[in-house]
């Protein structure tokens, strides 16, 4: 039976999650140099274009048709059979369920782009996004949500710690290794060009995350209310701990650190949101800050140019959230099961198993996929193009164009028209 309240909330939640992708675009674009602003944002826009189509064509079917152990079926290819009838186990139309889950696939593809910005060519990225959304995301979504071996084996993942957070984080590491570091990495200071974009993006991401976590109960029931509230509590605690860590390390709490902390907190509560009590969610927020902070500090000292720290923010915090369920899940709150702390030690084993196989799968498949694409077409722009900037070389536009010295090309004159500027001596 369709429930109108559930359906109304899930319509809104779907729109909220879709908004997270342009929000991520802002977050990412602020973190890169000004000459790469548009290209960075465009990778997120491209994720919407590509992943939405692959999801409708095959991704949804592989993730959610049937309960095969490793992969779903082909029954919903091209959205066949996806109608107004309720999705099994929910009171919302399957069509809406498909749309909600599609927005997850989109944002996850966009997340991975953070590893390769400022150097990867746009065309190969489109190809990568299309294949990755099927070979990695849809498979992991099936394992975690679609009745695959992790879910049926007892692993709990409320809103995507497995496919979204660990899936993107460890794929990002592989992508950074295959594509290679930016040419100036480790030689010059490569600084964020607009901290306000970063903060604005983080704020909008947090807002969207209420749909992401609050919608993952697929209803307006207790689990959704719990996850929604935990999405408020957990990142707030991460922020506080991040301030303290920043002050210990550099004596000042930084704004870009705060934006990062918001993301880390939201990521950590993603898998655990509907399973742990509000009190434990606050502890999770505090605990999750530490490993992500450490990974960022460590990564920047290596030659691994995982440019926007997807591994630290998403892979690491997602892993922490998945493991946290194993300790602190509480049946009294979630009605599903307990963690080690409440008497079910096996739960921790299931969670730890998922925290091993997910990173391994994401890393290996992404590594192989990019190597394969690299056989057919160069993954990166030339050094010269990288120096000029990806906005001009990939898109023929600039984010901060002044118009000074711009000469209008009228259709009559065409590109070969009279040169209106002096020839150099």
């Amino acid at each position: 039976m369709i429930d109108s309240g559930d359906t109304a909330w899930m319509l809104v939640a779907t729109a909220l999650v879709l908004m997270m992708t342009p929000a991520l675009g802002l977050f990412y674009a602020g973190l890169v140099r000004s000459k790469n602003t548009l290209n960075t944002f465009m990778m997120c826009v491209a994720a919407i274009a590509v992943a939405m189509v692959t999801w409708a064509l095959i991704g949804y079917s592989l993730a959610f048709d049937g309960t095969g152990s490793l992969i779903g079926g082909l029954g919903n290819v091209g959205l066949s059979g996806v109608t107004f009838a309720p999705r099994e186990g929910t009171a919302i139309p399957e069509l809406l369920f498909m749309a909600f889950e599609a927005t997850f696939c989109i944002i996850t593809v966009a997340l991975v782009s953070g590893a390769v910005v400022e150097r990867m060519r746009f065309g190969p990225f489109l190809l990568f996004a299309a294949l990755w959304s099927v070979l990695v995301y849809a498979v992991l979504a099936h394992w975690a949500f679609g009745g695959g071996w992790l879910q049926s084996g007892g692993t709990l993942d409320f809103a995507g710690g497995i496919p979204v957070e660990m899936g993107s984080g460890f794929s990002a590491l592989a992508a950074a290794l295959v594509v290679g570091a930016r040419k100036d990495y480790g030689r010059q200071a490569l600084l964020p060009h607009n901290a306000m974009y970063v903060l604005l993006g983080a704020g909008l991401l947090w807002f969207g995350w209420f749909g992401f976590n609050g919608g993952s109960g697929l209803s307006t029931g207790h689990a959704s209310v719990l996850a929604f509230t935990n999405t408020l509590l957990c990142p707030a605690c991460t922020l506080l701990v991040w301030f303290v860590l920043d002050m210990i390390r550099g004596r000042k709490a930084t704004a870009i650190g705060a934006a990062t902390a918001i993301v880390v907190g939201c990521v950590a509560i993603t898998p655990a949101g509907g399973y742990v009590s509000p009190g434990w969610a606050m502890l999770l927020g505090a605990v999750a800050a530490l490993p992500s902070y450490a990974v960022i500090a460590w990564r920047t000292r290596t030659r691994v140019d995982e440019t926007l720290d997807v591994l630290a923010a998403h892979g690491t915090a997602g892993l922490v959230g998945i493991l946290f369920i194993g300790f602190f899940a509480e049946a009294a709150w979630n009605g599903v099961g307990d963690g080690l702390f409440y008497g079910d030690a096996a739960r921790l084993g299931h969670q730890a198993f998922a925290a091993l196989v997910t990173p391994a799968y994401a890393f290996v498949v992404t590594f192989a996929l990019l190597k394969l694409i690299g056989l057919f077409t160069p993954l990166r722009a030339s050094e010269h193009q990288e120096a000029i900037g990806m906005d001009v070389t990939q898109h023929g536009e600039e984010a901060y164009v002044t118009g000074e010295g711009a000469i209008l090309i009228t259709p009559e004159a065409g590109l070969e028209g009279e040169r209106p500027v002096a020839d150099p001596v």
């Binding site: 000029i388 023929g396 536009e397 164009v401 711009a406």
Partner: protein, 117 residues
């Protein structure tokens, strides 16, 4: 005393600074300018409006040096800024009439010679 002006690619600005520091040329000003040399214009399109970008972003270094340091400075600018492609920029050397260090009142050659604190 000469004023050495170097107009270079923005993406080479850091390399130029590095080269100048290595050559122990300490006093430098830089500013962002737009210029046009012999390079091909970029064609950009904004919602159907196609334009040729006649001016390119450049970075302009100004270095006031004593006569002994002119060649060193020119060499450093060339080393840092050269890619071999059209658009690497130009160096101009101008005679400099006077220079004053504001803090101490040092004049001319003393003013453009770095002092150790």
């Amino acid at each position: 005393m000469k004023l050495v002006i170097g107009i270079v690619r923005p993406e080479k600005a850091n390399d130029v600074l590095e080269a100048l520091y290595r050559a122990e040329v300490r006093g430098v000003s830089m500013s962002r300018v737009q210029g046009h040399g012999g390079e091909l214009e970029r064609v950009e399109t904004y919602r159907g409006t196609t334009v040729k970008m006649g001016l390119s972003e450049k970075v302009r270094f100004e270095v006031a040096v004593s006569d002994d340091f002119v060649q060193t400075t020119i060499d450093a600018l060339c080393e840092g800024a050269r890619t071999g492609e059209v658009g690497d920029g130009k160096i101009f050397v101008l005679p400099l009439e006077r220079a004053v260090r504001i803090r101490t009142g040092d004049a001319d050659a003393d003013a453009v010679t770095p002092v150790d604190k």
